[in-house]
Subunit: 325 residues, 2 copies
């Protein structure tokens, strides 16, 4: 299966590495909006200009669209879906229906197949929620994120006057997780589920007390959370906070029995050293499914909910039944 | 969707209760090999003789086959698949390919659709292994079971001379789980992964030391494990050991990155008050999918690997995308 990468940042590099672990796949080309001559890939895969992408329509079975969900993917994925089978990792949950419709229409117009929102949330966490809610209809589910770096929250802090750099960690509250694991089905406020830690490199001249107040009072991002702010040096930032770990927990507890007398807890959790590389690895598995389904003549748009798990695997269905069931 | 239950033991009663939680489903009839007049269902669903099952072929959309994997299901599921869409929970892992072939041939002959091996292992644990191995191809996975009652091991102890009743608990070794969770990828022997506890009610006249020796030395069942034997009274057995809890953990750790420098751990775990009721709840969700797929004209045999998750849910694909992705 021949893949292309459209957009070469953290996610694109993650896809490039993930392809190396999948011998049935080959990375044909990376497309960039920058000058191709200035982009050097990790594995020597050739680089072409994003402007020329349509020239490669016969060379690529599935295009992985690697861009931001705010402004890149709403434009890029429909544009590419008209000419390629595509997979993206659109993660703006509230805009998924609109994005799906736009991608579906473009894919149908071009006779291609598209999958949106691959990754882990949306993605594997969505699957965990879906399976668990179908098995335990009388129950309640909880998603906890972290410990991990939130790029959006880090960016928000960087926009504060006097801040040179910032890194924000989302941290699940262990005692809340324990209550959910015990099947209590508690009602939890935002504050009771997660805390936040912010590491800030400030200008020497900056008023640190003012920066800390601005962070902690920021609506939507921090005001509803218990937030701790640490001021550190640029060296400490580079040494201790250059990785992008993340993870989290999806837990559903529910009851069965004639009198609801039996409790059950289903938990799915991830502990990730590198958020972009894990997301990329999931994307590549779903790209395999999309390539196969397209080869079977399917067109239009799909999500992870529509993919039969066997299509993700390099093994045949016979092998899966014999060795993995 | 109209369901039937073929075989009315713990699993059949679990299915009966699970249907109550799924308003889009209706339980039409229970079939028993005993005298129907002597079987009273929990919810008053009418009972018919297994001998008459074919008379109901137009009244039932999906038949749930509830029997043992050793001798019941290899006969019952193919027999029924010729006349009904069926779901079973065949759990004899090494015989799955043979069972699949027999069920597939019968279902194809009758123009029906069948799903084998629904439940949690095989079933949800198989799905956890499959998804995780596709996302992290360079990794290793581990399945731990328990703490829970193993019926097969309990039965084996009951066959020892002088034993009136027995209950066997499989217990995962917490320190082994922790090593796997930390991404160590250890090589673990059978003994290092699980311990066993056996509760025995012995005849007054029985030689307890001999019973304990026979249990601990039993090949395949106990000889490779650290086993602890407790002798208890019949009253204690009834009071403390009449439930059938179970559960376990599927954990995969793997690496990503150009130099395999990032570690990731994916964990799926279950904590179940009632093994048969949870298994039944999973079966009912997969029965929904089989009913829908059969209505779309699909025939033959499937496993959980072949089912698009959206087909398990009572919600539409639009609703799932909007609220669960």
């Amino acid at each position: 299966m021949r893949l292309g990468i459209y957009g070469y940042g953290n996610l694109g590099r993650g896809v490039e590495c993930a392809v190396l672990q999948n011998p049935d796949m080959e990375l044909v080309r990376v497309f960039t909006r920058r000058s191709p001559a200035g982009v050097k890939t990790l594995t020597g895969v050739p680089v072409a200009s994003a402007d020329d992408v349509k020239m490669y329509r016969n060379d690529i079975d599935v295009m992985i669209v690697c861009g931001g969900s705010a402004t890149d993917l709403p434009v890029m994925t429909p544009m590419l879906a008209e000419h390629f089978n595509v997979v993206d990792s659109f993660d703006n949950h509230s805009h998924i229906p609109d994005h799906f419709a736009a991608v579906r229409d473009a894919a149908n117009a071009g006779g291609h197949l598209a999958l949106i929102s691959a990754g882990w949330d949306p993605g594997m966490f969505s699957l965990a929620r879906l399976y668990a809610s179908c098995i335990l209809p009388e129950g309640k589910d909880y998603t906890f994120w972290g410990r991990g770096v939130s790029q959006g929250h880090s960016d928000a802090v960087r926009r504060i006057d006097g801040v040179l750099d910032a890194r924000q960690y989302t941290i699940p509250v262990e005692s809340a997780i324990e209550r959910v694991r015990n099947g209590e089905q508690p009602e939890l406020t935002v504050r009771e589920k997660h805390t936040r830690e912010v590491y800030v490199v400030a200008k020497d001249s900056a008023d640190r007390a003012r920066i800390e107040r601005e962070i902690k009072g920021m609506p939507a991002y921090f005001a509803d959370y218990d937030t701790t702010v640490f001021f550190i040096t640029a060296e400490e930032m580079k040494r201790d906070h250059s990785e992008l770990p993340h993870g989290g927990f999806v837990i559903r507890s529910g009851v069965t029995g004639l009198n609801r007398e039996h409790r059950h807890v289903i938990e799915y959790s991830l502990k990730l050293d590198s958020n972009p590389e894990f997301t990329s690895s999931a994307i590549v598995a779903f790209a395999r499914a999309i390539g196969r389904m397209a080869a079977r003549g399917e067109t239009g748009a799909r999500t992870v909910f529509d993919i039969a798990p066997a299509d993700l695997s390099p093994l045949s269905r016979e092998e899966l039944r014999a060795h993995m069931l």
